[in-house]
């Protein structure tokens, strides 16, 4: 037997280490559709409890939308379950091409290529379009999938301080001798909910003849006046060279992602991106549901507008209750608690009061910046938000942090 007691012992030690340091992750089983209200079994084996979900990426409430579900059923009926092939052998249907065209039109780019996920898009894109003669200059807070993708690429890499345009320009000057320089950022940063200053970044890229890359996974569908994304918000549509995004959040939330941007760069991905070349693409069911999600978004901005109203209401409510939130205007609203244990206790107490939101702490966020990350959805009605605000206020009161400054909370609970 190759899996010896020694091998088992090694893994058990590692897993116990994770448990002891409090970073062991455990899933919560949901017995319902994804929505504003969900039925959760947690801890495993306990009875199912109905709670308000305020931590999903279901920004537009499309995950269980009847029209999306209906379209997915139709996709299953007319195009089958799977392709049993990668794209370039016999794994491309007309609807894959249709979805690529739809994304291109929606984002205002030149072309698009689908990937099994945005994680795969980010894993494949850099290696496909950059070489060891180039440099990737990324914001320090970009998503882990971008970091993994950069690690797979032979181009040199460097980072600039989060959203610090002076530091970015220094780096652009430092690497002036490179064949290509690519500036890399998230559109909306997933932990803080702030947005990249794309107008300034586009200006700097123009000035220094650099390419601009944006991962807009937490923006596509709802950021900007018509939900096109962060590039629409900052008035730079057509000026971002590469956009990667996901269908696994606002756009129905199933799975799948893409690279969208300059025609030649997308074509390079079709020729060279390994997750595209060596794995099946999105199944027909998901393509069909996602196409319907795009149709719904293009017909009206109603859902995006409702999300914006809900976000304003939620941010105002938390601030007025005396909690510290990260300033911004996106539906990602971190409630700052600073201390890791406090964030875990706060989350557990919220759950007891019927509110589902998770505490994040180091190493997911920097040391001393523990928080509850809340995410607003268009699926929320005002009564959901009011009930959540009541719970946040009651627990804030319990821990005596309402109206307190960061310093005061740290003095009470430590970093």
């Amino acid at each position: 037997m190759s899996y010896s007691d020694r091998a088992r012992g090694l893994y058990l030690n590692q897993l116990n280490g994770l448990k002891e340091s409090g970073i062991f992750k455990q899933e919560r089983f949901i017995h319902s559709n994804q929505s504003a209200e969900i039925e959760v079994e947690y801890p495993p084996g306990s009875s199912v409890k109905k709670v308000i979900n305020i931590c999903s990426n279901n920004y537009l409430g499309l995950s269980s939308h009847p029209e999306v579900v209906k379209a997915a059923h139709a996709g299953l009926d007319y195009r089958g379950f799977g392709m049993s092939s990668v794209r370039f052998i016999c794994g491309t249907q007309d609807i894959h091409h249709e979805l690529e065209a739809r994304v291109t039109e929606f984002l205002g780019t030149e072309d698009t290529i689908l990937f099994p996920s945005c994680m795969d898009a980010n894993a494949g894109v850099f290696e496909a379009i950059l070489t060891s003669d180039d440099v990737m200059i990324s914001d320090r807070l970009v998503h882990a999938s971008i970091i993994d993708g950069m690690r797979l690429c032979s181009a040199e890499h460097d980072t600039f301080k989060h959203s610090n345009m002076e530091h970015l320009e220094e780096k652009l000057e430092q690497y002036a001798n490179k064949r290509l320089r690519m500036v890399i950022t998230d559109g909306v940063f997933s932990m803080d909910g702030d947005t990249a200053r794309l107008d300034e970044m586009a200006r700097l890229c123009e000035k220094h003849d650099a390419l601009l890359f944006v991962d807009d996974s937490h923006a596509t569908g709802f950021i900007g006046k018509t939900g096109r994304g962060t590039h629409e918000k900052y008035g730079v549509m057509g000026q971002v060279d590469v956009i990667t995004t996901t269908f696994g959040k606002a756009l129905g939330g199933a799975s799948g992602g893409c690279v969208s941007g300059r025609r030649e760069l997308v074509e390079m991905c079709r020729q060279r991106a390994r997750p595209y070349l060596f794995s099946n693409t999105i199944s027909p069911v998901i393509v069909s549901g996602t196409l319907r999600a795009f149709e719904l978004l293009t017909q009206t901005t109603e859902r995006r507008d409702k999300l914006e109203k809900n976000t304003i209401y939620w941010r105002k409510g938390l601030s007025e209750a005396g909690l510290i939130i990260k300033e911004g205007d996106t539906p990602i609203v971190p409630v700052m608690l600073f201390n890791a244990k406090l964030s875990q206790d706060f989350s557990r107490d919220l759950y007891d009061l019927g509110i589902y939101a998770i505490g994040f702490f180091f190493p997911v966020v920097p040391q001393g910046q523990a928080r509850i990350r809340t995410q607003v959805s268009a699926a929320h009605e005002i009564h959901h938000l009011n009930q959540a605000l009541e719970a946040f206020t009651a627990i804030g009161k319990k821990y005596n942090i309402l109206g307190k400054t960061k310093q005061e909370i740290i003095e009470m609970y430590g970093m």
Partner: protein, 80 residues
């Protein structure tokens, strides 16, 4: 040799710290979350260029880069 300490501290402050961050010779840089392991690469590159040394990847560990004092120790080891 003390000037290495000053140079590294100044570089770390300018390159990684925000205005509100207090950085001393013993501040934990990586385990404290000030410098992430991905950004550490530019620090290694800076040291190699500035001091004309080559730090092998197996020596450029997060532990060896975890404070200004430890970094100075590492630089001295490869200056020999």
């Amino acid at each position: 040799m003390d000037d290495i300490k000053e140079v590294v501290l100044e570089y770390v402050k300018a390159e990684y710290a925000e205005d509100e961050d207090e950085v001393t010779y013993d501040t934990p840089l990586i385990s404290g979350g000030l410098v992430d392991s991905f950004s550490m690469v530019s620090l290694k590159r800076f040291l190699e260029t500035k001091y004309k040394i080559s730090i092998p990847d197996d020596k450029a560990t997060p532990e060896a880069f975890d404070s200004v004092n430890k970094i100075v120790q590492l630089v001295k080891e490869f200056q020999k």
